[in-house]
């Protein structure tokens, strides 16, 4: 529902993340809408509080205190009797409260199959492909007794169950029905015990659908999709994977203890409810709006504590894709980044020696105490190295999802039946991409924007010429949901306070020998100076170019390299400036290689980091 602007002079918006609840105040001041103050507090999803609204109150309390300081007005009041005051009456209260939520965190699933090594493994692959952690695979033939399986389902409290079993031409469907009876006997409840039934996706033989419906229909939130193993030789993971992904994004991830209470709090000026939006839905709306307004291809990312969400708009038809990597995040899921990426991939971004034991303990300590922040330089560098790997892995997953044809089926002979994987042609083309946008704590709150630029370039490896922007203080989710009550205000604040261009990246595609010229660049800068250099392969250059201005560039790739117009073809471009500037990156693409040996790698990393001014120079020595 859209409200008139004049009814909205002060709005509170929060994003309840898995780790932190972020609140912003949007006010009509001096004839315009601006984001004025910001507060945050840990999300309260652990006993003894176990109520997400306590975190909201704490974050809004910070807003209140900061607003009083900003306007030197001790009468400003947003909370009374542990509730938000709506509507506004002078200094007291606000006109609306809107919120997004991803407080539920990652996705942990159980999967069932008839034969563990066949339908069980296919189900496991579908769940993993959707970014879930598979807590257990229960199969008819797994040797465990029924009560042990039931106990396991109850104890693990999965967010969702995926059931597979039997091919469509199987003569019997007995085992999959028995498995449904077992799931029914476990009577699984959503772990946060709220307003919805535990989602169970049935992707087994089509012949058992009626029996499954009869067995589970009243007990769980049953969804039936195509058989993920229609024949022994064919795996069809796409439909099950997409179903998991959608249910997680739309229903599961926003849930949290106290969620029902929060739902009653989010209201407009007439006290009518404003639905809470899942965080990736809100950010996805913003990304689509950017692409539509500018008529460009956009790649966006929001990296949180439990999940990393990637958004893209590609091709002339503006095809939008949104993926949530449910267990890649910087707090709750940080240890899973280590498990998924491996230690070596993280260490390749670290420009100093570190004791592996110490690093592993640091990561685990962040996992068990997710709200802590890096106070030391070395810990910051390590967290940002881990963030690069989270972003990289989330992007790999996104590319797999963002294919031209959804639900691609793969056929193979029986010998391959045990080791299948999904395939498809991704529509993500980094060479045609116009803009990358970064959001989320580690990107929006990096002490230096240069670090944000470095993390995004290293993780996503933009090609050709790409503009790079960041969500200034992390408010895209807030504005995404704000648009549901007034689009104009959301757009005004977005343009004035939210999206900040930090610069551009120029990166020729291909690999040539070290020392050979990879890029001849001539850039006329707004202050009249001209940058001109033949840059060898394997280097980085940062050319300051202020926000709101452009560098007029003539760029010639080295022999065999491509900037988007074809190999060896020169291009001209207006390179957008920003808080960081223009980065010329000749480290190569497809492949991008970092030396394995520390003796070779570390000096190179230090050189790149110094060039990018990513960290205090003295600390890098």
């Amino acid at each position: 529902m859209q409200y008139e602007k004049k009814k909205l002079t002060r709005i509170i918006a929060t994003d309840c993340g898995s780790t932190t609840t972020k609140a912003i105040l949007i006010e009509f001041v001096d004839g315009e809408y601006r984001q004025t103050v910001r507060g945050e507090a840990p999300t309260t999803v652990e006993a003894p509080l176990n109520d997400v609204t306590r975190g909201v109150l704490n974050a809004v309390q910070e807003l209140e205190e900061l607003a009083r300081l900003k306007y030197n007005n001790p009468n400003i009041t947003l909370i009374q009797d542990a509730k938000l005051v709506i509507p506004r009456n002078g200094d007291i209260g606000s006109d609306a409260y809107v919120s997004t939520s991803s407080a539920g965190g990652g996705l942990q699933m159980m999967v069932t199959g008839v034969v563990a090594k066949m339908t069980g493994e296919s189900a496991e692959r579908a769940a993993l492909g959707a970014g879930a952690i598979v807590m257990d695979l229960i199969a008819s033939n797994d040797q465990r007794l029924d009560h042990e399986k039931i106990e396991r389902i109850r104890h693990l409290r999965p967010d969702m169950i995926l059931m597979a079993g039997h091919t469509d031409n199987a003569t019997s469907n007995k085992h999959v029905i028995e498995m449904a009876e077992l799931v029914g006997a476990a009577d699984p409840k959503p772990r946060l015990g709220s307003s919805y039934k535990l989602p169970v996706i049935y992707a087994g033989t089509i012949k058992a659908r009626e029996d499954i419906e009869r067995t589970l229909g009243n007990k769980v939130g049953l969804m039936i999709t195509e058989n993920l193993r229609p024949t022994l030789e064919r795996e069809n993971l796409g439909p099950a994977r997409d179903e998991i992904h959608n249910i997680f994004m739309e229903h599961v991830m926003q849930q949290a203890p106290g969620y029902n209470k929060l739902m009653a709090w989010t209201v407009g000026p007439d006290l009518k409810p404003v639905p809470i939006m899942p965080t990736p839905a809100a950010v996805g709306n913003i990304m689509q709006t950017i692409a539509k307004q500018e008529n460009i291809e956009v790649l966006g990312v929001d990296i949180g504590g439990a999940t990393t969400d990637v958004f893209s708009v590609f091709t002339d038809e503006h095809i939008f894709n949104r993926t949530v990597s449910a267990n890649l995040g910087m707090s709750y899921s940080i240890s899973n980044i280590l498990a998924s990426a491996g230690l070596d991939n993280i260490l390749r971004w670290v420009p100093f020696d570190i004791d592996v034991k110490e690093l592993r303990n640091m990561i685990k300590n962040k996992m068990i105490r997710p709200t802590t922040i890096p106070a030391l330089f070395k810990e910051l560098v390590l967290e940002q190295a881990i963030a690069k790997e989270a972003l990289r892995l989330a992007f790999v997953q996104h590319k797999e999802f963002a294919v031209s044809l959804k639900g691609t089926q793969k056929s193979s002979d029986i010998a391959e039946a045990f080791s299948q994987s999904e395939s498809g042609d991704t529509i993500v083309n980094m060479l045609t991409l116009d803009l990358m946008v970064g959001s989320g704590g580690v990107l929006s709150h990096a002490p230096r924007r240069h670090q944000t630029m470095m993390m995004m370039i290293d993780a996503f490896l933009p090609e050709g010429v790409t503009k790079i922007a960041v969500d200034s203080i992390f408010m895209m989710p807030h504005l995404g949901v704000l648009a549901s009550i007034n689009e104009e205000i959301a757009t005004e604040v977005f343009n004035k306070d939210c999206m900040v261009y930090i610069g551009s990246c120029v990166a020729p595609v291909g690999k040539i020998k070290e020392g050979k010229i990879a890029l001849e660049a001539r850039i006329e800068l707004p202050d009249g100076t001209v940058f001109e250099e033949k840059i060898p392969f394997g280097e980085l250059r940062l050319i300051p170019c202020p926000a709101g201005s452009f560098g007029k560039a003539t760029l010639k790739p080295g022999r065999g390299l491509d900037l988007g117009a074809g190999k060896n073809q020169e291009i001209t471009a207006n390179l957008i400036g920003g808080g960081v500037g223009i980065v010329l990156d000749t480290r190569g693409r497809r492949p991008f290689v970092i030396p394995v040996e520390a003796a070779e790698r570390v000096p190179r990393l230090i050189k790149w980091m110094k060039e990018l001014k990513a960290y205090p120079q003295e600390l890098l020595n």
């Binding site: 975190g55 007794l145 203890p257 685990k364 962040k366 106070a375």
Partner: protein, 377 residues
């Protein structure tokens, strides 16, 4: 902002606890409301149908399937014993010579016999499933056919991370001080069945030794993640634990690495040395967090009412006792001396809200508020 919310784990010498004890399948509840139970008492039980054993009787007997009925000594529903003859031929020309007999491979009962295939389906005896009380206490609620709720008053320690499931045992202090690293040589056979307390660290060697000796649980300030990886054979990606089969339950009270056990935790365990405790390592670090627990039941007076206190939010205030939970000064304990309002730049150049803390080692330092937790006193 004179005060602010801060996370913290519960360590107390007196708390009212409530535990649901539910069967995996419907069955029989063996206790009634108001009963006093011990941790190892069975409060509810059920039995599951035994495993099914298909058995090719006609084939073993060497007769056509359709003729099997002529030779059977059993019928559907009969109880059978292992070795019992269940089918027998009449021997050469019906004389009883060279008879072929087929014996039951299991104890159990006859589920079905197929004249079409000549196979019998035998079922093993029913499998009992029992649920124990886990904690000493009073049954305050009976859930018909499913289980009970047990409540008690306890000394209670919430761990930060754990491995493996429920167990009970007597508390035995192996550490003399909370800074000790557990020496595997101290884990002697008299530790069998006990809950042993380490100080700041227990190594892989110590965990293995404890499992070997038959220790039921280890409570330690810290553990190295590298050791856990070696112990489990995999990296813990997302902290959802409690089902590991490692032979001993592990409760970590402070975190990863060698970290001095908080003095109040150590002192509490010391105070209750020799007493029976209930322990589990179930951990789920995600919304609706579950943490491992050490529960030491306290004696209840006759007719005493158990009233749980309302949950409190710990807050940072001048004088609050806190522990630093991230570098620098990780693991140090001290008292807050100042809560400045302005944002402060720390070494990483991050602008954060800080507090000033006087550490037990005498140093006074600034540390981000996000990097401390309140220790309840």
């Amino acid at each position: 902002m004179a005060q602010a919310y801060s996370a913290g784990l519960t360590v107390t010498d007196n708390i009212v606890l409530r535990k649901d004890r539910i069967l995996p399948l419907k069955g029989e509840v063996l206790v009634k409301k108001g009963d006093r139970v011990k941790a190892n008492d069975v409060v509810a039980q059920t039995s599951l149908p035994g495993n099914v054993v298909p058995f090719k009787v006609a084939n073993k007997l060497g007769v056509p399937a359709e003729m099997l009925g002529n030779f059977l000594k059993i019928k559907v529903g009969d109880e059978i014993k292992k070795g019992q003859v269940i089918a027998e031929t009449k021997g050469l020309f019906g004389t009883g010579w060279f008879k072929t007999a087929v014996k039951s491979p299991i104890d159990g009962e006859v589920e079905s016999i197929s004249a079409a295939t000549g196979n019998a389906v035998l079922r093993e005896p029913r499998i009992p499933v029992q649920i124990k009380a886990f904690i000493d206490g009073i049954v305050t609620e009976v859930i018909k056919d499913e289980g009970v709720v047990v409540e008690n008053r306890s000394a209670y320690i919430q761990g930060i991370f754990g491995l493996a499931g429920e167990t009970t045992g007597q508390i035995k202090m192996l550490a003399k001080s909370p800074v000790d690293h557990l020496d595997p040589a101290l884990i002697t056979p008299d530790c069998k069945g006990k809950i042993i307390v380490a100080g700041a660290l227990c190594s892989l060697e110590a965990i293995k030794k404890a499992a070997e000796v038959g220790v039921n649980a280890i409570i330690s300030g810290g553990v190295d993640d590298e050791d856990l990886k070696k112990l489990l054979g995999y990296d813990i990606g997302v902290a959802i634990t409690g089902h590991e089969k490692i032979g001993v339950t592990l409760v970590i009270t402070e975190g990863f690495g060698p970290i001095t056990m908080a003095k109040n935790t150590f002192d509490l365990l010391k105070r209750f040395e020799g007493q029976q405790a209930s322990v589990h390592g179930f951990t789920q670090i995600r919304a609706g967090v579950m943490r491992p627990e050490v529960i030491i039941p306290l004696p209840l007076g006759e007719g005493e009412q158990l009233v749980a206190e309302e949950a409190k939010m710990s807050s940072l205030e001048i004088g609050s006792l806190i522990r630093v939970i991230r570098q620098p000064n990780f693991g140090e304990i001290g008292r807050i001396t100042e809560l400045p309002e302005i944002l402060t730049k720390v070494e990483s150049e991050t602008m954060v809200r800080v507090l000033k803390v006087k550490l037990n080692n005498g140093k006074e330092v600034l540390t981000p508020r996000a990097n401390v937790e309140v220790i309840a006193e």
